[in-house]
């Protein structure tokens, strides 16, 4: 790793080379394909959904999966596949919004704490110890209980807990990077602390954070749909995978597809993010050597 590694002229070549190596990996290609499709479905579900997700059809109530309705229909005759496709919008939004603020806050806090150390670091360490003493879900639903159920409050609750994990990761990376010569060189040249942290240390410390972010988006979907299922996340008229699964809960014996089919989308998207995360982890580790 060289200190001058991120000068602007060399960047396009390195990016191309990196992408070349990435797309040579099957796990990256599959993960990328799944996530790209998921984003597409989230952006324009109306193009892909075969039926109106809200249209009742009393002539086709609880039909098992068939060619006309690959995922079957629900207790109002609504096409389950179309509802699952429309739910991509909410669930992909969850993957992004439940993680992005935690990432921003966590990385900033972790970078400062890791760079300055001292009392702030000690206080931070204690807070982390206390927060990880709560099971993640328990703390999140306790906060949701206070704020009230709903998507926005769910994002707030998850962010309040989740930033700690990003901060811990960034702090450790910054501590290692800070000991390098290039950081000392920056100080000798009289650069401000902020410039050293954000322009010099962070670009070198960010890759584990990005890898974790990928896995965390998978976790956010699992967590968000669990909260939806429990009735604390997205609220019923909205199509969200956890909500769809919970709507089918009472019909497991007569119409299992109502609950089990939406889960396919959760598994597939989760798999996409983890494959992408694993592939990136391997690629970045290989680069570091």
């Amino acid at each position: 790793m060289s200190a001058l590694g991120h000068t602007s002229q060399r960047r396009p070549n390195r990016l191309l080379a990196f992408l070349g190596r990435a797309f040579a990996r099957p796990s990256f290609v599959i993960g990328f394909a799944i996530i790209a499709c998921s984003i597409l479905l989230a952006l324009c579900p109306q193009v892909f959904a075969p039926y109106d997700p809200l249209a009742f059809d009393m002539t086709a109530i609880q039909q098992p999966p068939s060619l006309a309705h690959p995922f079957g229909t629900d207790n109002f005759g609504r096409d389950v596949l179309s509802r699952v496709i429309w739910a991509y919008r909410v669930d992909m939004q969850m993957a992004l919004l439940a993680t992005i603020f935690a990432l921003t806050i966590g990385v900033t806090a972790g970078a400062f704490v890791g760079y300055y150390g001292g009392i702030a670091d000690t206080i931070f360490g204690r807070c982390v110890d206390a927060i990880i003493t709560f099971p993640f879900l328990v703390l999140v639903i306790a906060i949701v209980a206070v704020l009230g159920p709903g998507l926005v409050n769910m994002y707030i609750a998850i962010t309040m807990v989740n930033w700690v994990y990003y901060a811990r990761l960034t702090r450790a990376e910054i501590m290692t990077q800070k000991a390098n010569d290039y950081a000392a060189a920056g100080r000798v040249l009289g650069f401000s602390d902020r410039r050293i942290i954000f322009r010099h240390l962070l670009p070198n410390a960010i890759s584990p954070v990005i890898v974790y972010w990928m896995t965390d988006m998978a976790l956010a979907i699992l967590l968000g749909s669990s909260l939806g299922y429990l009735g604390l996340g997205a609220q019923p008229p909205a199509a969200e995978w956890g909500v769809l699964i919970s709507e089918g809960r009472n019909f497991l014996l007569t119409a299992w597809w109502m609950s089990l089919m939406p889960g396919v989308a959760i598994v597939l998207t989760g798999l996409g993010f983890s494959l992408l995360g694993d592939a990136l982890a391997d690629l970045l580790r290989a680069k570091g050597r």
């Binding site: 110890d129 749909s225 299922y229």
Partner: protein, 313 residues
Amino acid sequence: MPSLSYLVARLLQIIPTFLLVMVFIFLLVRMLPGDPAIAMAEAKATDAQVVQIRRNLGLDQPLPVQFMVFVKNTLSGDLGRSIMMKAPVSEVILSRLPTTIFLSLYAVALAVLLAGPLAFLAAMRANTTTDVVIRGVFQVGLSMPVFYIGLVLLTVLAAQLRWFPVGGYGTTFLGNLHHLMLPALSVALYTSAIIVRNLRASLIEVLDADYVQFARAKGLTPRIVMTRHVLRNALVSTVTLLGLSIGNLMSGTLVTETVFAIPGVGRLMLEAIFARDYPLIQGLTLTFAVMVSVVFLLTDVVQSLLDPRLRKS
């Protein structure tokens, strides 16, 4: 045996952490928009009743005083009264706790039984079809939320094949094992996915380590190399992993209890949330935190028993 000073130092570490845990839980209910007394009062409560609730909760005192009272009460086992159950919070929680602890231990046992041998198989045959299949299956398991695993098991094994009851709790030990099989398995499948992934990696590393090669080279039988050198190390990493995933396990138990209608503390937490029973929510959050820190502590102790190097620091 780990030295006494190590244990004492480890125990003392818990104190500042727990003080902060108490601060969080204390502030949680104070975060309520508006007046908690009004939120806790019934809709038809008179002003006098609200004042009474406020006084009962000590909400007319300044915050630091309230906190000291909260800590004092909690340490003496007084967690307030549950609004929903009309009984002391500590009693309500204690009556539900054994079920959850039983379910969690059951899930851990299943997870280890499932993940241990398979991780071994995958590591011994690294990069063969066996390995790829095992990893693939558990990778899918890792992408399934616990409630969904539960519903799939419920549909296939309970509703269709009728091997297991749909929910509830048994009366005898064997009856419990039978009743709680599916909920425990739902949590275990997710937990074992985490174990397989990490245990396989650490086994491959150990199998390749110098001291294992040396043990083989000096002519020890593969059996002895396995039990004395490889397994012992694998045990350390499994214990660590189980300890670290206790939070996951507890979260999973909460969900699984809801799916299978099991009367444990997890389901109680959800009931408390929908009933807006804040003293109970507070008490339950504390209970979960206590359980996690006890497990963290046990993990550290077991780890230091298994790996003498860890005792020094």
